[in-house]
Point group: C2
Chain length 360, copies 2
């Protein structure tokens, strides 16, 4: 068996974190889980507990290449994979897999989103080891997060029979459920959140792509053919926009039979909105996550993110304000209730509609 490699998918746009996130500064490049560490940098740092930097690959958008390189300077430039356009996860993973296969025919590959939070990193790395063990055994393996609430915003993975504890068969992938079904999933104990992490032998994934997504495989073969001629980038630019835009779940995993899942319970958070940022933040006794020195009078459950890069420290004073999110950058200020955190999209749409591109 060959070495283990990681692929971090860092192409997200993250409009839900406007005004912090912008088209050229998306979610994964921001320290949205508290502290100063961007989510991508944290993802790399965690994996450095198992892998040398030169076996960590980062797939991102071509327009984000420089910012990504600056965010994780320890990763060799050759390991940054720049997608000419976003085509969902199957083309991304298949291309990265091919790239790694050129280097190591026996490679094990672990795929992670760049923009999630992991609370218990030791528990996480243990799960990664277990999932890699599944991959070594020839399974396309995932980690499924043990649910803590009847979440309707995630896809689920239904566990099947145990293979070898903690590795289990996958009974099926399940789309985002309604509330009632989500409650049943939570009570039943068989369903796990699909957190977008995948572990496999590179050659098996390449085979699976050829089988289930032949159009994708043949498109990427042109890139492989061009690579020895030093012509990879140009071919990629021509081919990539025409690849099928499909997720690895729908395109490959759901059609495979040799699947496994490892249940994981390590304080996972998808950092999906400002609500998540509040959940992850250090809060005072009244549930306020506000800059040091804040004055609160009958104020509860608020989040203030002061992301200005100029201007000095300021005192935030909240009187009679509950469960709001206030985000400040150098050129924008967002105020909305925490429970409407998803509605940031409405602001982004309004700015788009009026052609205010410099704020997007």
């Amino acid at each position: 068996m060959g070495s283990t490699y990681a692929v971090i998918m860092a192409g997200g746009a993250g409009t839900r974190f406007w005004p912090a996130s912008r088209s050229l500064k998306p979610k994964q490049l921001l320290p949205l889980a508290g502290g100063d560490e961007a989510l991508l940098a944290a993802t790399v740092r965690r994996l450095r507990g198992r892998l040398p930097a030169d076996r960590i690959y980062i797939a991102t958008g071509a327009h984000l290449l420089e910012a990504t390189a600056a965010a994780v300077p320890e990763i060799p430039r050759a390991n940054l994979l720049a997608e000419p356009v976003p085509r969902n996860t199957a083309p991304c993973i298949a291309w990265a897999t091919n790239t790694i296969l050129r280097r190591d025919k026996e490679a094990l590959v672990a795929v992670f989103p760049a923009d999630h939070f992991i609370g218990d990193e030791a528990a996480f790395l243990l799960c990664v080891d277990q999932a890699l063990d599944g991959a070594r055994r020839g399974y396309l393996t995932t980690i499924g997060v043990v649910p803590t609430r009847p979440e309707t915003g995630y896809g689920y993975i239904e566990k099947g029979d145990p293979i070898l504890e903690p590795l289990c068969d996958v009974a099926r992938f399940v789309e985002k459920p309604d509330r009632e079904r989500a409650e049943l999933y939570l009570a039943g104990g068989k369903h796990l959140w699909n957190a977008g992490m995948f572990f496999f032998q590179a050659k098996l994934m390449a085979d699976a792509v050829r089988t289930h997504l032949p159009e994708l495989a043949s498109g990427l073969q042109k890139v492989e053919d061009a690579a020895p001629r030093g012509d990879e980038a140009k071919t990629l630019a021509a081919v990539f926009p025409n690849l099928p835009s499909i997720s690895i779940d729908h395109g490959v995993m759901e059609h495979e039979r040799r699947l496994a899942v490892v249940p994981g319970d390590f304080g996972w958070n998808d950092v999906g909105s400002w609500q998540s940022t509040w959940e992850l933040a250090t809060k005072d006794a009244a549930g306020n996550a506000m800059p040091t020195g804040a004055v609160t009078v009958e104020a509860n459950g608020n989040l203030v993110c002061d992301l200005r890069t100029s201007g000095g420290k300021r005192v935030y004073a909240f009187v009679g304000i509950s469960d709001l999110v206030l985000v400040e950058t150098d050129d924008a200020v967002l105020l909305l209730p925490r429970e409407r955190a998803q509605d940031v999209r409405a602001v982004v749409e309004a700015l788009k509609a009026r052609g205010d591109g410099k704020l997007l």
Copy 2:
């Protein structure tokens, strides 16, 4: 009869406008009624419609002398009266009256707060003319603002019989009423808001002070005695802190019998809190007073005051936010519901309690 002089009382502290107002930048020095014109500057400008600058006096606190001079550069420096400590309105008006009497024994004096808003300036000046006519006839005259709501935050003046329309006797001064009485006052049509404007012959006011506040009169006489020796400032500093701290209403007006009032209806607003600022501001169809370019989604009745002096223009985006006030300065941010605008004091108290003097 001598000339007419104005005294503008500009000694207010204005903690209700924190973080815009500070001990060295109180309410009257801020453009709180919209636009760029500070309230004091607007008060002076209005009076310039009737009076030359050298007959306008401004009483303020010694610590505010420089900032006041800078705010109204057209007023001669000798017309700025610096109170060593604040002692309420009776000492202020009595001292200013004495100062004017030295210059003109037959002076008519008109006293105005520095920090109110007047919507209809022509109607206001007409009332001033009428009130000065009352003063010329020997009445201590006030302007009473025709009430538009059952306000419990102001004192009232009950009109008596007409003297010579629109001049009326004053039946009595009334303290701030409870809601029920305020409703009765509004319905009855006899009660006017006491807006703190007074018009009188200087010599009659000096007589009244001697009669009703002999301690104040004798204290100020020491200042008068010192003035010819060029020793006024030093004597003032010694005498002023020991003067009785009392309002002109309680100390003089309520004891006088030759009183008159002119009803006024000229878009008066006492600019008492951020709520007033919202009332006076230009608002969009949803009642939001926000900087140009704001994005609002299901947001109503909000006030945003961006008073930063550094940093560029910013887009304010409010989603699902109603009736809040957001004020930003270079070193502080205030967020509270409009209906709790008075509770800014709680923030100021909290900052005092923790010794955060530089923010006060």
